[in-house]
Amino acid sequence: MRELINLYPDLESVYLLVAQGGVFERPTMVQTVLGSCVSVAFFSRDSGFGGIFHALLPRSADYEKVLLPGNRFRYVDAAVDALAGALTRRGADLSEVECKVFGGAGALFQGEAGVGQKNVLAAYEALARHRLRVTASHVGGERGRKLVFFSHTGEVFVKYLGQAAAAGPSCRLEDKGRRRRAAGK
């Protein structure tokens, strides 16, 4: 972490909690920790600023008839709408904005998608609705992630939480093995 702080000294630092987000016009280092929640980092190369949110649930309409303004970063779809709007109001051209999607951890439960998977799908669909380009994503799996985003460069550093092993995939193979073992008992 010290290495990252030294990379851009004197930078403002923000820790993003669940259901928080925003556009950062001043260079800012934004940290957050994700489990099944999803973060989307937006970066406008032309404007030189970016935004990010940390949302908990996939779609606002499934939970609230009328979305309260204070809850817009609680839901993935509403958070994407909010940040797309905020970037546009600041003069960013959405067609050149780069988006990176993170989080959505969680095992399948009896073959059904968990909230993590639903969150990621909601993010991809909302981004596609705004014709925003997803340049990178790092989602799924069973382990949470720590994330650091630099709003003025668009750089994102990610680290899995927990033990150093298994980066990445696939819970799927492990799940099958587990089910098979369970069935054999």
């Binding site: 972490m1 010290r2 290495e3 990252l4 990379l7 920790v33 990176k100 998608a113 998977q117 990621v120 799908l121 991809y124 669909e125 596609a128 380009r133 997803v134 340049t135 990178a136 994503s137 790092h138 989602v139 799924g140 799996g141 949470g144 992630r145 720590k146 650091v148 750089e155 994102v156 550093f157 990610v158 680290k159 899995y160 939480l161 927990g162 150093a164 092993a165 298994a166 980066a167 990445g168 995939p169 696939s170 819970c171 799927r172 193979l173 099958k176 093995g177």
Partner: protein, 143 residues
């Protein structure tokens, strides 16, 4: 040094990726999914499986999804405990392809073309193929 398989039907793309990964590991290339599956199987049988696969989706003969599904099946049959890590690298950025790769086929990351080498490096850091400044520090607090 990690063994890396780069799968893409474009020679230019394979060259770009290999150049980006020059310091990360020893790269081999495949021109399509079918060739990739053959190389993957041979490596598995030799007991020297690839550590990382960079996989395109749209390719002749066999696409990236099918190739990856074959690879996962082979790993399962061979009783591999730690599946090979995969970064999908495609011009497709629609929800269906991104979901399928990461939630059904176990890709650890998904990048879209044209890719920024910095994004590739970030994915490699996250998958523990490159030094990660986040891991060199205090352990993360779970919250």
């Amino acid at each position: 040094m990690p063994r890396i398989l780069i799968v893409d039907d474009s020679r230019y793309q394979r060259h770009l990726v290999e150049k980006t990964l020059a310091d990360v590991g020893c790269c081999e290339q495949a021109e399509d999914g079918a060739q990739a599956v053959r190389l993957f199987q041979q490596a598995l049988h030799r007991g020297e499986p690839y550590d990382l696969v960079i996989m395109d989706i749209l390719m002749p003969t066999m696409d990236g999804h099918r190739a990856l599904a074959w690879m996962r099946r082979m790993e399962e049959q061979a009783g591999v405990l730690r599946p090979t890590r995969v970064i999908m690298l495609s011009s497709l950025d629609d929800p269906q392809n991104m979901m399928q790769a990461q939630f059904e086929e176990g890709a650890g990351a998904y990048l879209t073309k044209p890719f920024d080498p910095a994004d590739m490096l970030a994915a490699l850091r996250a998958l523990e193929f490159a030094k990660n400044p986040l891991s060199a520090d205090e352990p993360c607090a779970n919250s």
